[in-house]
Amino acid sequence: MRAYSNKSFRRDMVKLAIMFSVLTGTLAVFVVTPALSTPTLLSVVITMVISPSVKFLERKEIPRSLAIGGIFFLIFSLLSLAGVIATQTIVDEWGSFVQKAPRYFEEAVLKLKDFETQMKESYPFLESVRVTDSIVTWGNETGQWFISNGPALLGDLFTWMLIVPILSFVLLNDSRRIKKKFFELVPNRFFESTFMVTTLIFRSLSDYVRAKIIEATLVGLIVGIGLWIVGAKYAFVLALLAGVANILPYVGPFIGAAPGILYAGFDPASSHLFIPVLIVYGIANFIDMGFIFPVLVAKLVNLHPLILIAAVILGQQYYGLVGMLISIPIATALKVIVREIFDAVYQTHQSRSERDLSGF
């Protein structure tokens, strides 16, 4: 038995080394190749979002490949229809908004500068605080980034439009095969625990991504309908921005509301809409914070708010917006791993009969 143990230990260590090499190698390739990692990440997100619909069709006895094909056909048809109907409106709105946005930004900066000067005159201890300068620097840097990366981004977008659907189809159709191949690398002694941990992590991540996408869609819809009711211009674009920004935890709702508030506050033709627009964003955030987030997201994440805030700050500190975006999923995954390790190391594992006996 000892001979076996030594031999088995060596073999398991080799398997473990191969497994970690494959994992770190794949991760390294993804980190250094954004052209590969971005469409793959997008495909994973799409896979997570579409997966429940595929399961629903499978329940109706429709073969998986056919179900996936059907869903893709439906999505492409809807997108084409939306393209025909709404693209012109959105493109027009977007063009006009992009044209006027720098003016709104400049006016906002001027007013903020006046306000900052007044505050500094009243409260001299604020002399060292430079809020307006920071915002101007950020605005300039972001603008420069878009100007220098714009054409490349458009090229990437076109490539992604081709790659992402194919990759998503493959992931949906062959996810089990890929999973099985990965588990072949796991040594027997770690197989069950690795299997459970990865299953739990993947489930939490899928639930979180789905919940966030649903949350963002609902917030976008509420903002869009609200802005349309009050008669604000750019309702489509502002709703889209509010929805996309809402994916960012904590600061997302503020970032999403900023363009609409800036537009209503600094466009002379729309100044009468400032309060109604503010109310629309207020209502959207109230519904989000009061109902959508607690019902959809908070229950799934189940982490202490302090840990969540710490995770988001850490993510922002090291990886900026992307860091903020991935902070909560990573914290959720780490929670699953830590809990499993805690259970395996610290919990006394007794069978029910042993537990009953020890109770006497």
Partner: protein, 175 residues
């Protein structure tokens, strides 16, 4: 009765157990015997085949259990560790299965250690897979659950009968 070789009647076409595929093995298993060919094919894509070396543990007593194993090839020794020492409970061969309680028990702890006797091939079927089948193909999931209930019911009945017998013989004091 005189036994003599009837070569003409010998079943030359019977598949050797050692060469049987996962689908064949699943079909012969009591848990999956009610599934049709298409369902068996689906299941064969879901389960995991693992190979264990002689003396290698599949799981330890006290480990958390997440699924069951079916023996495809080789044999498994089931033993328990108690204060009095280690004791062998049983030896399982090709076609047998073990650990099925963990498919339905929310906090299952393995009550015995399973060790491969020789080089052994196992087919693992785990709780998340059962849940996925129930989600994706409820009819197939219900068939498996029904068979699983029968197996667990049979085990409960046999355990009850044995305890009753032990009480009758005075081996165990009734409460």
């Amino acid at each position: 009765m005189i036994k003599h070789p009837h070569f003409l009647w010998k079943d030359l076409f019977q598949k050797k157990k050692s060469n049987q595929t996962i689908i064949d093995a699943l079909k012969e298993n009591v848990l999956f015997c009610t599934l049709n060919q298409r369902e068996l094919k689906t299941l064969s894509h879901i389960v995991y085949e693992r190979v264990y070396q002689p003396g290698e543990d599949v799981f330890h007593q006290g480990d958390r259990g997440f699924g069951m194993y079916m023996i495809l090839k080789g044999s498994i020794v089931i033993k328990t560790e108690a204060l009095s020492g280690e004791g062998m409970i049983t030896k399982l061969h090709e076609g047998s299965f073990f650990g099925e309680l963990s498919l339905v028990d929310p906090n299952n702890i393995r009550t015995a250690t399973a060790t491969a006797e020789g080089k052994t091939s196992l087919v693992g079927f785990f709780k998340p897979d059962l849940l996925e089948i129930l989600e994706r193909k409820p009819q197939m999931g219900v068939k498996i659950l029904f068979q699983l209930s029968s197996v667990l019911g049979r085990r409960l009945l046999e355990t009850t009968e044995k305890i009753t017998l032990m009480r009758k013989t005075g081996f165990v004091e009734p409460k």
